[in-house]
């Protein structure tokens, strides 16, 4: 079937199998291999992408169900001026070990920060509960998300910085 899909801000006209999962179309037809397949059943979160501002397991939705919606993958996180703040914080905090869970972690964290720019640590852990890291590097991952979401320290700081996160927000 014909499918119009908006991925990382670009419109694609695709010919897809009606039952193709979103992950299959993203990886195999669009070459967006930052989307990882782990468990194929919604446990591990490695395949997490953002659909209309919400984190979604791309192994559990059909590509056709994303018709008319905006899909954001890890490849779309960086803006023209470089990596997203979240990505930079992951690097700075050593939140990447083998790296397989990282794209999914980033997308879950990004969806959280889009909805709640200053989440509590509990909210961060809940938002990442559907993303498994088998290297068990959770502490640094949570620290990276905290750093990317840190509210400006109180009165003494200058007015809020302009949006540094490129076009992804």
């Amino acid at each position: 079937m014909r499918l119009s899909l908006n991925v990382n801000g670009m419109e694609h006209e695709l010919d897809v199998r009606p039952t193709a999962r979103l992950i299959d179309v993203l990886r195999l037809q669009l070459g967006l291999t930052g989307v990882k397949e782990g468990c194929s059943e919604g446990e591990c979160g490695a395949c997490t992408v953002i659909v209309d501002d919400k984190a979604v397991n791309s192994c559990l939705v059909l590509a056709a169900q994303a018709r008319g919606k905006k899909v954001l993958t890890v490849e779309g996180l960086a803006g023209d001026d470089g990596l997203d703040l979240l990505q930079r914080m992951f690097i700075e905090h050593g939140a990447v070990q083998c790296g397989y869970c990282t794209p999914g972690m980033l997308m879950s964290a990004k969806a959280l920060l889009m909805a709640d720019p200053h989440p509590t640590e509990e909210a961060i852990r809940l938002a990442l509960a559907g993303n498994l890291c088998r290297c068990t590097g959770y502490t640094t991952i949570v620290a990276a998300v905290r750093a990317a979401s840190e509210p400006p320290a109180e009165p003494a700081t200058p007015p809020p910085e302009p949006d540094r996160e490129g076009g992804a927000v």
């Binding site: 009606p18 919604g42 397991n57 939705v61 169900q65 969806a111």
Partner: protein, 295 residues
């Protein structure tokens, strides 16, 4: 493999037209978190797949004449956050909040949870305690309403006809003199499938500090979530105190024994029922925190 045909109705009229073509080998797709996984793992495809996710008019929560009406396509994330649900059916909001991960709650729907008919479906346990009814629509455009417990007839089995789609669940909105909660036990604290779940709705006379009535639903014990009348009678008229909590917990153990006699999981679940009963009891906030006496 012959590829399934996919229909994507954009409204109720297109939905009924699509349903006319449904056969016993067809499937309705809502959030997809159960169906797509099972299709992928079994390499099985239906002859016809009807994607309900475009029928946006089935995504709502409304309070009408004391009834809370929830559209079948309402997601768990929406249920969890909805002010009407939190106020008038808190056990349902709590159940929705404990389903899977954020990713799953963002797409999985209450209608899908019912139609998938898993014995451990969290929102079904809550809806059974709320005494929910389910309105369906079929290929002829006919709507019918029946109790939820007549839809979920067994593990993975429903009374839904191939051309019948769930449109709405509804139940009496809980008032100020009612307390409610949902509790579950799984193999880990979050993103877990219930090994045992419970939803409680009690009528509470705050002046007399007495429970004047109770509805108790148990999930993940046996084929489908159910209410246990003996357990409910046991709570009726009881004062809100530690002794009642103890009786309730013992009653929950008995209810589990009655539900799954001889099942391999019984030794674990009859014990787990005590902890779950105390968790639920304490969450109602009727009296000082009660703790089970183990041993």
């Amino acid at each position: 493999m012959v590829g399934a045909e996919l229909l994507t109705p954009g409204g109720i009229q297109e939905l009924t037209a699509a349903l006319q073509r449904a056969t016993p080998s067809s499937r309705l797709l809502a959030g997809g978190t159960d169906l797509i996984r099972s299709m992928h793992q079994s390499h099985w495809e239906p002859d016809l797949l009807i994607d309900l996710s475009g029928v946006r008019e089935l995504d709502y929560v409304r309070l009408e004449d004391g009834m809370l009406r929830v559209g079948a396509l309402t997601t768990f994330a929406e249920l969890q956050a909805d002010p009407l649900v939190r106020r008038h059916a808190r056990c349902l909001a709590e159940a929705a909040a404990q389903v899977g991960s954020a990713q799953i709650r963002n797409v999985a729907t209450v209608g899908g949870n019912i139609a998938n008919a898993s014995p451990c479906a969290d929102t079904v346990t809550a809806l059974v305690a709320l005494g929910a009814e389910v309105r369906t629509i079929d290929g002829g455009g006919r709507t019918t309403t029946r109790p939820l417990t007549q839809i979920t007839v067994g593990s993975g089995r429903t009374s839904l006809a191939p051309d019948e789609a769930i449109a709405e669940v509804s139940f009496a909105a809980l008032g100020a003199d009612q307390r409610t909660t949902f509790a579950k036990i799984g193999s880990r604290s979050t993103v877990t499938v219930a090994r045992l779940s419970m939803a409680l709705v009690v009528d509470y006379d705050a002046d007399a500090m007495t429970l004047s009535g109770a509805r108790v639903a148990l999930g993940a014990v046996g084929e489908a979530a159910f209410r246990d009348p003996r357990l409910e009678e046991l709570l009726e008229g009881r004062p809100a105190n530690n002794e009642s909590a103890r009786l309730f917990a013992a009653g929950c153990t008995d209810a589990v024994r009655r539900a799954i006699p001889g099942r391999y999981s019984l030794p674990y679940k009859q014990h787990a029922a005590v902890g779950l009963a105390y968790n639920a009891w304490n969450a109602l906030g009727l009296c000082d925190r009660c703790e089970p006496v183990w041993g």
